[in-house]
């Protein structure tokens, strides 16, 4: 049985207009967990809580079986972090910034850092403000990896990147997992990226986890049924996830058990994007 790197139990955090409620997540060694959700779903709050950047009201966060607190420096030595929309010190050269980060880590690997900088074609003598968004993300990823972390936390690293750079970053992250055996917690609202990288997917909406399962299971278990015309009433009433003339069913048996004319509809595979759509839609319906 593989070791658990991250375990979040019943995490709650209340703000005046938003709250995270009972977040439960687990991540095993060498695996990638994708957090999918719309903007404001609670992805960044979850990540900030687990990194000790913000406090939480209740629950527990265990990283490598140790409780994460804002001042747990030893645990932070094992974590690499790429934040969302970070600007850093604009007038500072990349080389100076790298030297500062390097001074914070015990296991810093200069050879790996320079090897990756070369591979990613990064000019370390440029000032941070001179870097494009893609190159800044690359720099942050390289910095996050160069101390051989056991857990890599990426908060929407690919948002705002062009498809080419996005692919390059994702391919590289795949390699990192294989080579370094590190675990990745990856948040994004781009489901395509999660699909490419994640082993397990957690869908977040309004501070709640709507679904958390292995990607394979989700894509295998959930099917969409598209009706050519209106959905028959009996089927609409018995289905939890309905959107226009499409329903989502979570079991083959479910579909077989449904009494409808095969010519009226077609059953096909579902994408993570669509699963998110159905889950969010159902939540909104329940709220109403």
């Amino acid at each position: 049985m593989s070791k658990r790197i991250l375990e979040i139990n019943n995490l709650c955090k209340n703000y005046s207009k938003f709250s995270l409620s009972n977040i439960n997540l687990t991540l095993e060694e060498g695996k990638v967990l994708g957090l999918i959700g719309q903007n404001g779903a609670g992805k960044s709050t979850t990540i900030k809580s687990l990194l000790g950047l913000i406090s939480y009201d209740s629950g527990s966060i265990l990283i490598n079986n140790q409780v994460m607190t804002p001042d747990n420096i030893n645990l932070k030595q094992d974590i690499g972090y790429v934040p969302e929309n970070v600007f850093l010190y604009q007038d500072v050269k990349c080389r100076e910034f790298y030297k500062f980060v390097k001074s914070c880590y015990k296991n810093w690997d200069d050879d790996l850092f320079f090897e990756l900088s070369k591979e990613f074609d990064l000019n370390l003598d440029k000032r941070i403000k001179e870097l494009s968004k893609g190159n800044l993300v690359k720099l942050l990823i390289i910095i996050a990896i160069s101390h051989h972390p056991r857990l890599l936390v990426l908060d929407e690293p690919t948002s705002g990147l062009d498809p080419l750079i996005r692919n390059q970053v994702l391919n590289y992250l795949k390699k990192v997992v294989e080579k370094e055996k590190c675990s990745i917690l990856f948040s994004s609202h781009i489901t395509e990226d999660i699909n490419k990288l994640a082993d397990t997917v957690s869908f977040l909406h309004n501070g709640k986890i709507l679904l958390s399962e292995s990607k394979e299971t989700i894509l295998k278990k959930y099917k969409k049924v598209v009706f050519k015309n209106e959905i028959p009433n009996n089927i609409r009433e018995s289905s939890k996830f309905v959107y226009n003339n499409v329903i989502m069913k979570c079991d083959d048996k479910d579909i077989v058990g449904m009494n409808f004319n095969q010519e009226e509809c077609c059953v096909s595979d579902i994408t993570l994007d669509e699963v998110l759509g159905f889950l969010v839609n159902n939540e909104k319906k329940l709220k109403l």
Binding site: I54, Q90, C104
Partner: protein, 209 residues
């Protein structure tokens, strides 16, 4: 913590050079106008150095939200506060050393110079230390925008203090002429600095974004 201090001075090299150059010229120009500007020179140099070096860093870190990234590094949260308070103290000490050295050079070069003594330096240093303490507290409690209004806050505090002494029928000038006033003020400044440090640390830990 040492990484943070080195980082702050390292990332700010250009401003350090520029501020020292301005102070060098500024002090010389003020000194040539006579003794009555002594207080101006002695307050302007530490203020300039502090705002150019520490103030600029605080501004950048606040504007660019660099803390969000740095806090994820393996550094204790309290060390951010300690580093800034340490830097503030060092900059003040360096600025007074600078004033004494430049004044001494002016004396050697037979130019106008100020009659400075340690007692006078201690008085201004203490006032500046209280100012820096309030600045940091406002910075960690709120943000740079608010901290930038420290001079106003400082002025209001002084005015309130003056009024309070007046209400209690106590003569401030009599106080200031007291033999050990400067030492008392210095001890008071240290207490204020320590107190604002504790408040800043507390605020910083509670600052959820």
């Amino acid at each position: 913590m040492i990484q943070l201090i080195l980082k702050d001075f390292n990332f700010n090299k250009k401003n350090i050079y520029i501020s020292f150059l301005i102070c060098l010229i500024g002090f010389y120009l003020i000194s040539q106008d006579g003794q009555r500007y002594k207080i101006l020179a002695c307050t302007l140099i530490p203020l300039l150095l502090f705002n150019f070096i520490i103030g600029k860093l605080c501004f950048v870190e606040d504007r660019d939200k660099v803390f969000k990234y740095i806090q994820a590094l393996p550094i204790k949260k309290s060390h951010f506060v300690i580093a800034k308070y340490f830097e503030g103290f060092v900059v003040l000490v360096v600025s007074f050393v600078f004033i004494f050295i430049e004044n001494f050079i002016l004396k050697i070069l037979n130019k106008n110079y100020f009659n400075l003594d340690l007692q006078y330096a201690l008085l201004i240093f203490s006032i500046m230390l209280i100012y820096v303490g309030i600045f940091f507290f406002l910075y960690f409690r709120f943000n740079y925008q608010v901290a930038n209004q420290t001079l106003v806050v400082f002025y209001i505090f002084c005015l309130m203090g003056y009024k309070l002494l007046g209400l209690l029928n106590l003569d401030i000038l009599k106080f200031m002429n007291y033999k050990y006033f400067n030492i008392f003020l210095f001890v008071f400044a240290i207490i204020c600095y320590t107190f604002t440090f504790r408040l800043s640390r507390h605020s910083y830990y509670r600052k959820d974004e």
